[in-house]
């Protein structure tokens, strides 16, 4: 049974008075421990889909089932509780945290909010989370703005796994990182997936990265699915016009899934 099922999802925005569909009659599913990539040119609706799936914005139509129940039906405290299972990592790890926060606070919040550990136990949990993502536990006391971009994205991943989610949405989560750091973060994500059976909705415009981490890919064009299927097959032999254009625009597609 699939973990997340999105059916006929639609979101319209107003642009200069006339409505246009940012996401149009979109359906896809993600299985447990699977990585589904969303690719498409800028403005094709990738971030909108991420925000819809995370219930940060309301769809105009469609249905989202998550872990076997109607996710759109949840409100208030029930929704907040369920959010433990569905997490997110943003593109810009600096913008994703309160500028006043420390690493410890950022990791303590989800543990506190979901009652995962007692107040006395939380510092130990925070240290364990930091170590799980390959960081030194001593980093906890530092302010978010004091650590490097790569460290910050590791903290973001630690925060996302703090509540033991079954699905993490990553919206261009490695796009802002330089190449060597990007590789390490991708390896961390793959490792976490193997160990904890976390599924990813992996949004990227970089087909090289997608080929390295994704099992399946959905190519978007103006809010609609242009093409979907096995990630390597689609990238090796795109059928749609947008797929061909994306492959042609991609830098050397040399890396394989490790």
């Amino acid at each position: 049974m699939s973990l997340l099922t999105v059916s006929n999802l639609a979101k319209r925005y107003d642009s200069g008075g006339k409505p246009f569909a940012a996401v149009d009659d979109l359906s896809f599913e993600i299985n447990p421990a699977e990585t589904l990539a969303l690719a498409g040119p800028s403005g094709s609706g990738k971030s909108t889909i991420a925000r819809l799936v995370l219930r940060l914005i309301q769809p105009d139509a469609g249905r989202i089932d998550f872990e076997g129940s109607d996710f759109l039906a949840l409100t208030g405290a029930a929704l907040r509780a369920r959010r433990a299972r569905l997490q997110m990592v943003f593109q810009d790890p600096l913008a994703a945290f309160n500028p006043r926060a420390t690493v410890a606070r950022v990791l303590d919040d989800p543990l506190r909010i979901h009652g995962i550990a007692s107040r006395a136990e939380r510092p130990r949990r925070v240290a364990a989370l930091l170590e799980r993502v390959g960081l030194n536990a001593g980093l906890a006391a530092r302010a978010i703005h004091e650590i490097s971009g790569g460290q910050r994205q590791r903290v973001a991943i630690a925060r996302a796994i703090a509540t033991k989610p079954s699905l993490i949405v990553l919206d261009e989560a490695v796009s802002a990182l330089d190449v060597s750091v990007r590789g390490q973060i991708l390896e961390l994500l793959i490792d976490l997936q193997r160990q904890e059976r976390i599924a990813y909705l992996f949004i990227s415009h970089d087909l090289g990265v997608i080929r390295a981490v994704a099992h399946r890919v959905v190519l978007l064009d103006a809010g609609r699915i242009a093409e979907s299927g096995d990630a390597r097959a689609v990238i090796a032999n795109p059928q749609s016009a947008i797929g061909k254009a994306l492959v042609a625009a991609a830098p050397r597609l040399t890396r394989n899934r490790p």
Binding site: L54, R83, A84, Q87, M88, F90, A95, I113, R159, T163
Partner: protein
């Protein structure tokens, strides 16, 4: 404290800070230098200043020590000004944050209330409030706060509107944080700097409003206030002008000091921000 030296870099800011320090010293020293009731009779009535060195600034119409009144008045002015401004900033920040963060109907209702308060001239509002509830220190503070919170509320709301679209607010929602915690713990502290930048203007206005209320006889009757002293002196303005001039000058200097020091702080934080 390490920041203090470069908070006051410009000469205006230093002058402002010195005036405020002097004022604070006066307020703190008042009960030590002039123990007992400053409203008690201390000598002959209408003694001019610099005549009797035990009463350096002379006495008023009832023979009260003007210098003692001035010191105790500094206490009232500062206390009321600071308390009222703090209350106004607090109310404004809370209302503005709620309105901006909640949006929709809550925003609509809160902003209409803010409009309503803003259309009534603030001094009339304070005046009406004190005349209805009765003059006491607490009521005067509440009245001034009531007439001054709308500015901070608008500034806070505008700031919150831009902050709430940031990724980190979405991130707080994703981890399941309660909306009230997001509003007041994640958003409000980051919306505060421009709100706090209003504090010097608000403190200055609060001190003036307090003086004006006292001048009209609506201050706390058990406290010496500069406004009350000016009102007292008014009846003998021709024969003993110093009775109005002394507290008047004190008032002007205070407002000036607050304003200059406040501007200095705002400028240096703006500078620090643009540097970083």
């Amino acid at each position: 404290m390490k920041r203090l030296p470069h908070l006051f870099r410009s000469p205006e800011a230093i002058a402002g800070a010195l005036i405020l320090a002097l004022l604070a010293a006066m307020a703190l020293a008042a009960p030590l230098l002039f123990p007992g009731d400053p409203q008690a009779i201390a000598g002959p009535a209408l003694l001019p200043p610099f005549q009797d060195w035990s009463l350096p600034l002379g006495t008023d119409r009832l023979g009260r020590d003007v210098l003692a009144e001035l010191f105790h008045g500094a206490r009232t002015s500062l206390a009321v000004g600071l308390a009222a401004a703090a209350a106004a900033l607090l109310i404004g920040a809370l209302v503005g944050t709620l309105a901006g963060f909640a949006g929709g109907l809550v925003d609509e209702v809160l902003m209409r209330i803010t409009d309503a308060f803003q259309t009534v001239p603030s001094f009339l509002l304070a005046l009406a409030f004190v005349s209805i509830v009765g003059p006491s220190l607490g009521v005067v503070v509440a009245a001034i706060a009531l007439s001054a919170w709308t500015g901070p509320a608008r500034v806070a709301r505008a700031e919150v509107l831009s902050i709430r679209e940031r990724d980190y607010v979405a991130g707080a929602r994703v981890i399941g944080m309660h909306p009230l915690e997001i509003a007041f713990r994640e958003v409000l502290p980051n919306a505060l700097p421009p709100v706090l930048a209003l504090s010097s203007v608000i403190v200055a206005a609060a001190i003036l409003t307090e003086a004006a209320l006292s001048f009209l006889g609506l201050g706390d009757p058990n406290r010496v206030t500069w406004g009350g002293m000016i009102a007292e002196g008014r009846t003998v303005l021709r024969t003993a002008p110093f009775l109005s001039i002394v507290p008047g000058v004190a008032l002007v200097l205070t407002v000036l000091g607050v304003y200059l020091a406040g501007e200095g702080v705002v400028e240096s934080t703006a500078m620090r921000r643009s540097l970083s």
